[in-house]
């Protein structure tokens, strides 16, 4: 870590604000592309901290981590190194929704991140608080820091997370902060508001942490990890042997529910004390008790926060009830009779900037060279934040290097789906990734992430020499394997068929057929065999999705000139005109996905554009 003592005009560096998952990926991406950058954090010791659950990945989020890895990001690599238990979720369902999830050692995770950053010669870390943006001619010129004053930069990535005007609630108690016990930033949101950004308010929550020694573990169910663990990163295949430290299952009961119901009015989320909208899909325990009144138990997942931790995270018990109510509700749970809290659960309200204010490069539409990434855009989750940070970092660097901006389409990746949703949809609750958000779920599988995105990463200088080598080897091996499957015939059910034909059948397992085949497969990694096998199973469905995308492509390739004045297009319906004027879509395809824009108005728009603009303007 290089500490800058003298703050001269550094006109040509990129600054990243925030050392969370988004900020880390952004800074490291910029560095990987050979540029220097400054990471500004309120507290250098909290860089890379996991503020909520001790796990990376999960349903749809696992897909995101794989995509981050494929694009040259670090989340997957670090998670793999810090994994204490790995599991593939959804294995009873189709492979398109199989999703890896790893319990990680929070201390190690943070340590690995900090080592990575401090060893990076291109990154300087500055411990300070940002007060103001310096803007000239609608372009970012620098920032003003609390201690160190004016600091000049050519681009700025804001990845401040919940630290912007955060307000923590525990029962009726409330206090300002971004994470309990840490500093927070005040100035930034009001400053951005003054510049002209619109602001919204969201909330999220975290469950209590308890003492390991206060739990009667013998009364709980053990939840073990995967026998054959699956790493996120393509580059940690050989080294990935996690310890498989178990988690435990506990269940709430009627008594717990009664205690919560009796005190429901004391919950900050129910008393009306919180105004921000919370995530429906990650409900607080009081939410669950009220909404699923007929359920007499809910599952709690007890996760160690690090190896040998004295601190346990209770997944499924997010709450903003007063501390004493949290304690007595938990003590009604079998196995937790004598539980002691290290820290109560709490809800946090924070500012976000509705994301229609962004371009698909994550640069703001209002100010040139200013990028937003992570929770500030209304998303929730480490993985969502990291993906945005990565993209913002790549794009800030690309712009600096005068290279074309990296836009990921909906058909390319979950990251592309997320960015498109952020820009076109009304985000009024924290946005998290789901596989159902993609219309190409059968193609956007976790096992295809590298095939889809590593070539993009190479083009954008996001893979180093070694990574390129590993990827190319993987590609060659997969091609060899596919060739073997399509040329080798074996007898199955008295019929001689090629392996490719047989693999398509649900009742055929290529790992459990003839000795010859098994021997041949040993030349390849489990992941290579799994991926090629899966691609064969899904080939027909992928083709269908491809065909559907072809139909839509015309709209996606229809560019809309920047700063088009929609008020001039009188034939548009009022509702559509308003929405279009606010969102300022980049393509006709994007325009069509904006909530509230009518189909017939798209026709009006396309006619207006073709009659008023040259063909060149409208082509990408």
């Amino acid at each position: 870590m290089v500490f800058l003592r003298v703050f001269v005009s550094e006109n040509n560096s990129i600054v990243v604000i925030g050392g969370g998952h988004a900020g880390i990926e952004a800074a490291l991406a910029i560095s990987k592309k050979g540029l220097s950058c400054t990471l500004i954090s309120l507290n250098k010791n909290s860089i890379g901290r996991l503020s909520c659950n001790p796990a990376i990945g999960g349903l749809a989020k696992g897909h995101l981590v794989k995509e981050i890895d494929a694009l040259g990001g670090v989340m997957g690599k670090i998670a793999d190194k810090a994994t204490i238990q790995n599991k593939i979720l959804n294995q009873s369902k189709g492979r398109a929704v199989w999703s890896p999830r790893s319990q990680v050692d929070k201390i190690k995770y943070t340590k690995y991140v900090q080592t990575l950053i401090s060893n990076d010669k291109n990154i300087s870390v500055v411990e300070d608080e940002i007060l103001n943006l310096i803007i000239k001619n609608k372009s970012i010129k620098g920032i003003t820091l609390k201690d160190k004053g004016a600091f000049y930069c050519s681009s700025l990535i804001v990845a401040g997370g919940t630290f912007s005007d955060g307000l923590i609630h525990i029962g009726s108690k409330k206090f300002k902060g971004g994470r309990i016990g840490e500093k927070h930033a005040f100035g930034l949101t009001s400053n951005l508001k003054k510049i002209g950004f619109s602001i919204g308010r969201l909330k999220t929550g975290t469950p209590p942490r308890i003492h390991t020694n206060s739990v009667d573990w013998s009364k709980l169910e053990v939840a073990e990890g995967q026998k054959e663990p699956m790493p996120f990163s393509m580059y940690s295949n050989e080294t990935f042997v996690p310890k498989n430290i178990p988690c435990y299952l506990a269940y709430t009961n009627i008594k717990t529910h009664d205690i919560i119901k009796k005190n429901i009015k004391l919950s900050a989320m129910f008393s009306g004390q919180i105004s921000g909208a919370g995530p429906r899909y990650c409900p607080s325990v009081e939410d669950k008790v009220v909404r699923f009144a007929d359920k007499d138990r809910h599952q709690l997942f007890l996760e160690p926060e690090w190896e040998g931790a004295n601190q346990i995270y209770i997944n499924g018990f997010a709450t903003s009830l007063p501390e004493e109510v949290q304690l007595s509700a938990l003590q009604a749970v079998k196995g937790l009779e004598k539980v002691e809290l290290i820290r109560p659960g709490y809800a946090i309200e924070y500012d976000y900037f509705p994301s229609y204010q962004l371009k698909s490069s994550l640069e703001t539409k209002l100010i040139n060279n200013l990028y937003f990434a992570g929770q500030i855009n209304g998303t929730s989750g480490y993985e969502e934040a990291a993906a945005q940070g990565l993209l913002a970092g790549i794009n800030a660097a690309n712009k600096f290097l005068k290279k074309p901006c990296l836009k990921l389409s909906r058909a390319s990746s979950y990251i592309g789906v997320m960015i498109d949703d952020l820009i076109t949809k009304n985000i009024n609750e924290p946005y998290r990734m789901f596989t159902s958000r993609s219309e190409n779920r059968l193609s956007l599988r976790a096992d295809t992430a590298h095939d889809r995105l590593s070539p993009v990463a190479i083009k954008n200088n996001m893979l180093n020499k070694n990574e390129i080598l590993v990827f190319k080897l993987y590609q060659t091996n997969c091609a060899t394997l596919l060739n073997y499957f399509s040329t080798t015939k074996i007898v199955f059910n008295n019929k001689k068929e090629t392996l490719i034909q047989l693999i398509k059948r649900p009742d055929f397992n290529v790992r459990a057929c003839t000795n010859d085949v098994r021997k041949y497969l040993k030349k390849f990694t489990n992941i290579e065999v799994f991926n090629v096998e899966t691609s064969i199973k899904y080939l027909g469905y992928e083709k269908r999705e491809l065909e559907r995308n072809k139909k839509l492509k015309k709209m996606e390739l229809f560019n809309i000139p920047v700063k088009l004045n929609y008020r001039k297009i009188t034939n548009l319906s009022n509702e559509s005109r308003e929405k279009l004027q606010i969102v300022m879509p980049e393509t006709l395809g994007q325009a069509g996905r904006i909530d509230g824009v009518r189909q017939s108005d798209l026709a009006v728009l396309s006619i207006y554009l073709t009659t008023n603009f040259s063909r060149e303007t409208l082509q990408p």
Binding site: L59, A60, L89, N90, K93, G94, R95, A96, V97, Y281, K288, F292, K295, H298, Q299, F434, T435, S436, E439, R441, L442, P506, Y541, R544, E545, R548, T570, N571, Q599, S600, L602, A603, V604, S606, I607
Partner: protein
């Protein structure tokens, strides 16, 4: 043609030519001031008929005494303000009234523009507009009860119901895929299968009826075939009750294919009179024969006419094999002496003796025709879900195939991610049917087929 604008439009809604009454329609926003420039009337209430004098806006000369009705937005066909003027049907009057408004900046409407606006203003959906297009299409023959189902919006409602049901199934599957919690009520394969089977049957029935409806719109095609001088044209004229085809003693008089439409007890038919078929070296005759065979190919029913032996009469000249699965009526013509015509059924084909020249047996021939078509006398009871054109049938067919694929996959216990994706495909198809994802080209294509004034 640009349909996407907000001009005030005008068109005559009745056909060109003298008639007792002609109707002129205007549609647009805020029509009243425009109307008042030509009509002396203080207050116009909507949905009332006013007898008024229409005057030229510039010199206030009275053009005609008319009936005027005002429909106020949004309660009108287009959803905009509409004024309908019923004037006397003389060409001079109609065009003077049209000119009177056009000179004030009103634009003559494009074909189907009124309906286009109705769709744009959500007064009609695409399905309804297409049903209306079929109703006013000159080629449409039968009235087809099914068209009313579509026009009234019943079909759209049914389609939306099916879409919602699939969406519900999909929602539950998606929930299972995206959440790993125990709060979820799971929907087993069996349950999904049951629901899908009901939908599949609905679509199947609907497609069967849609085929009948299509015939009802386009008519059943009947080609009259036979050797030269078998009396085909005489029969054709007699069926039409009109001397359409030239009839002479000379073999090969009919060269081109003649086409005429006829409603028999409400069922529409299209008859084709064709050139006589025989081995020939004459170039023109050869072309005529090719055309005759072409007509036979496109027909649902064949009349094979011969004075001696209709069954073997054509055997030497053409190969009847390709037509084997068509319905064939063998007609032994020129049976002038018979008093009562005989009709027999053999090998699913009908045989009848008749005399076209003396008009004996024609009624019996009609009875045979009606028994040959599916919908008898058009009194079939169409289901609420029905399709009326190629686009609709095609998409409905696609939807049915997807459901049948899903059922197959469920039987093979294929995983839910794939089934969910197929549900999504089905929803895409219904949305395309309902016009929710229609491209501009499709829209313009549909409305160009309309006549001006609708």
């Amino acid at each position: 043609m640009d349909y996407n604008n907000q001009d005030v439009i005008i068109a005559r809604a009745t056909p060109i030519g003298s008639s007792a009454i002609a109707i002129i329609r205007l549609s647009g926003t805020n029509l009243i001031p425009l109307i008042k420039s030509s009509v002396n009337i203080k207050n116009i209430s909507p949905n009332k008929a006013y007898v008024v004098n229409i005057k030229r806006y510039n010199d206030k000369q009275i053009i005609d005494k008319c009936v005027l009705i005002y429909y106020k937005s949004p309660k009108s066909y287009t959803g905009e303000d509409i004024v309908e003027i019923s004037c006397h049907g003389g060409e001079g009057i109609v065009s003077t009234i049209l000119t009177n408004f056009i000179e004030q900046g009103v634009r003559p409407a494009h074909p189907g523009e009124f309906s286009y606006r109705a769709v744009q203003n959500k007064k009609l959906d695409i399905l309804q507009a297409e049903a209306i297009a079929e109703k006013i299409n000159k080629k449409s023959l039968g009235y087809g009860l099914g068209l009313n189902k579509i026009e009234s919006g019943e079909t759209s409602k049914q389609l939306n119901n099916i879409k919602n049901e699939i969406q519900h199934i999909m929602m539950i599957i998606e929930h299972e895929l995206d959440f790993n919690e125990e709060e979820i009520t799971h929907l087993g394969y069996k349950n999904i299968e049951k629901k899908l089977l009901i939908i599949f049957n609905k679509l199947k029935i609907s497609l069967n009826y849609s085929k009948i409806l299509k015939k009802n719109i386009s008519g059943y095609k009947v080609a009259i075939l036979g050797r030269p001088n078998a009396g085909k044209s005489t029969l054709f004229n007699n069926i039409m009750g009109d001397d359409r085809a030239i009839v002479t003693q000379i073999k090969g008089t009919t060269r081109d294919v003649l086409e005429a439409q006829l409603l028999i007890k409400g069922v529409p038919f299209v008859f084709y009179d064709t050139a006589g078929i025989r081995p020939t070296k004459n170039k023109i005759e050869k072309i005529g024969i090719i055309k005759a065979l072409d007509a036979a190919n496109q027909s649902d029913i064949l009349f094979v006419v011969d004075a001696k032996d209709p069954e073997s009469g054509l055997k030497g000249s053409i190969n009847l094999k390709p037509y084997e699965n068509k319905k064939i009526v063998y007609i032994k013509n020129k049976q002038d002496s018979i008093l009562k015509p005989k009709a027999r059924l053999k090998n699913f084909n009908y045989y009848i003796d008749l005399s076209a020249k003396n008009n004996i047996g024609i009624e019996e021939l009609f009875t045979i025709l009606l028994t040959l078509v599916d919908d008898k006398n058009c009194e079939f009871d169409p289901p609420d879900l029905i399709a009326c054109n190629a686009r609709q049938v095609n998409l409905l067919e696609q939807g049915k195939d997807i459901i049948s694929d899903i059922l197959e996959n469920i039987k093979n216990e294929i995983e839910m991610d794939i089934i969910a994706s197929q549900c999504r495909e089905f929803i895409d198809v219904t949305e395309e049917l309902l016009g929710k994802v229609t491209t501009n080209e499709v829209l313009n294509g549909i409305f160009k087929g309309f006549c001006v004034g609708k």
